[in-house]
């Protein structure tokens, strides 16, 4: 199956700075792809290249297998950028009508009603966008992105500057769109919790390089920084602790009273540790694996990338 968005060896220099250093990744149909990275990492530049607003100095970008600069490809993309680009003096409905006409949407009024319903703004459709709260503006920008029924949604920081309840609403809307309307969603975010909750794949960019890319669950396992906690029920002999230190793959981290904490290397299972300990007469009361959170993965990667 062809990827919906494919970025191959894209390089971009702005001024004297290499903003993107031959980045490559692909987003499959139905993915909710979270594009993470600190400020100035190259997220917005990547989005602008995908939308055809900037041209890559080298490399290739295709959306739905086609060049982004064709009008037909642009019709298949919906976007909500930051800032939102809404017209404050126009009502919510008029803002959508303008874009519906740009995209030549047939029966635009009906489609506008549907889009407003998806984002829950039917009641405020006749009010000027300038009177909307930040969260409502973002929802209106989402409705605008949906008005022409695009196949791909590209969202730049969709929850930036919105209060927590507004963020929850937007996340729910995005999940609904992905599941009900089968859209592929590319979203850039600073919010790790948000990405962890709604995205199935992630890409982490730092200083113009993709540091991490793939399925979120797979990455959690692959990163191998998930800890294993073993409850033993009694204090352990010092000799055993010394022995554990001689097996580096176990990644013995610390012992606290009746608890042992390991940061094992990839491939080491909970059962391996339990077998090792029971073979030495230790009674095990419980063992759990704590998978690495996105925050841990993120900070590990960024720490590794820091210039020494």
């Amino acid at each position: 199956m062809n990827p919906v968005i494919k970025i191959e060896n894209v390089r971009k220099i702005l001024g004297k700075r290499e903003v993107l250093k031959e980045i490559s990744f692909a987003i499959e149909k139905g993915d909710i792809f979270g594009y993470l990275g600190p400020n100035g990492a190259g997220k917005t530049t990547t989005i602008r290249i995908i939308l055809g607003l900037l041209t890559a100095d080298s490399g290739r970008v295709t959306v739905l297998g086609e060049d982004i600069n064709s009008r037909e490809t642009r019709r298949k993309i919906g976007f909500a950028l930051f800032p939102d680009g809404l017209y404050d003096n126009m009502t919510g409905e008029e803002n959508l009508m303008f874009y519906a006409r740009i995209y030549r949407v047939p029966a635009p009024s009906k489609r506008i009603d549907e889009s407003l319903q998806v984002v829950g703004l039917q009641d405020r459709a006749a009010d000027r966008a300038g009177t909307y709260s930040k969260g409502m503006r973002q929802r209106l920008a989402l409705a605008r992105a949906l008005v022409h029924q695009p196949e791909v949604l590209i969202l730049d920081e969709p929850t930036a500057g919105i209060d927590p309840s507004g963020q929850i609403e937007i996340r729910q809307i995005l999940l609904d769109i992905a599941s009900r309307e089968k859209k592929t969603i590319f979203l850039s975010s600073h919010n790790l919790d948000e990405v962890q909750r709604i995205c199935n794949r992630i890409g982490l960019i730092d200083r113009g390089e993709i540091k991490l890319y793939g399925d979120l669950e797979e990455l959690r396992q692959k990163m191998g920084s998930g800890k294993i906690l073993i409850k033993t029920g009694s204090n352990l002999p010092v000799s055993l602790l010394e022995e554990l230190k001689t097996v580096p793959v176990f990644g013995f981290a610390e012992a606290a009273e009746d608890r042992l904490i390991f940061s094992p290397r990839p491939g080491v299972e909970v059962s391996d540790l339990v077998s090792f300990l029971t073979a030495r007469g230790i009674r095990i009361e419980g063992a759990t694996r704590q998978e690495a959170s996105l925050e841990e993965i993120y900070s590990t990667i960024l720490k590794e990338a820091e210039p020494k």
């Binding site: 003096n89 126009m90 740009i102």
Partner: protein, 246 residues
């Protein structure tokens, strides 16, 4: 609907909703036109009309200058107040970036936005010019001399000046889109008063007869020169350039 027409319609709707700005704009333009017209009438036209044999050519010259400046003031005040303000706001709030990400061509966006700035000024300038032309004729000329007008006055005021203003709107918006909107605004702010005073002085010193073909031709020539600048700068109108100038 054609893309340019769509942008134009939305741009006009957006501008017309800025009621306070519009009221201030119309008031300032009206005061300028009325002040200038009254000064020329009381200092030049009225004394001339009262003479036994009024010099029709001189009266035509004054009438032509009033029509020319009325049109230029109406259009110019509008361009100076709206083009910069509108473009700066739309660039900083992401309106332009959002439009560039749609299937619209960049030229359609540029043309539509420029026309949205041009049309209110055109209407304002032409209405002022028409009102002053008719008012002076009805009050001063018709009772004694008949309706005073010649085709060059009509062409200068109602074709050449609007053409200059259209070209200038396109140029200012082109410069503002691909660079800093303030640069375009500075050009408009310097050009319009300079041009108005240059043409008035040329006419007042009998170098160009404001009621003749030469004056009209000079105005069309100016529009052509601005058009040449547009052609020179137009290849730089690229999505990337607009985005990076924001």
């Amino acid at each position: 609907m054609n893309d340019t027409a769509l942008i134009l319609k939305t741009g006009l709707r957006h501008l017309l909703r800025m009621r306070i700005t519009l009221i201030i704009l119309i008031s300032v333009s009206l005061m300028c036109v009325a002040g200038l017209t009254m000064a020329i009438i009381f200092l030049q036209i009225a004394p001339l009309v009262r003479t036994d044999t009024p010099d029709l050519q001189t009266l035509e010259l004054y009438l032509s200058l009033i029509v020319f400046t009325s049109c230029l003031i109406g259009a110019g005040v509008n361009l100076n107040s709206f083009a910069f303000q509108n473009l700066t706001r739309e660039k900083s709030r992401g309106n332009i970036e959002a439009l560039l990400a749609t299937p619209l061509t960049i030229r359609a966006i540029w043309a539509g936005k420029s026309l949205a700035i041009f049309i209110p000024g055109l209407v304002l300038g032409e209405v002022f010019a028409l009102i002053t032309l008719l008012a002076i004729n009805f009050i001063y000329f018709i009772p004694t001399l008949g309706f005073l007008i010649n085709p060059w006055i009509i062409l200068s005021g109602f074709a050449a000046v609007p053409l200059i203003y259209l070209c200038l709107s396109l140029l200012v918006y082109l410069i503002g889109l691909t660079g800093n909107p303030a640069t375009g605004n500075i050009i408009a702010q310097i050009f319009l008063p300079f041009y108005a005073s240059l043409m008035i002085n040329l006419a007042a010193h009998n170098i160009l007869d404001a009621g003749s073909w030469s004056f009209t031709l000079a105005n069309f020539g100016t529009a052509t020169i601005i058009t040449l600048f547009i052609f020179l700068l137009q290849p730089g109108l690229k999505r990337e350039k607009v985005i990076l100038s924001t």
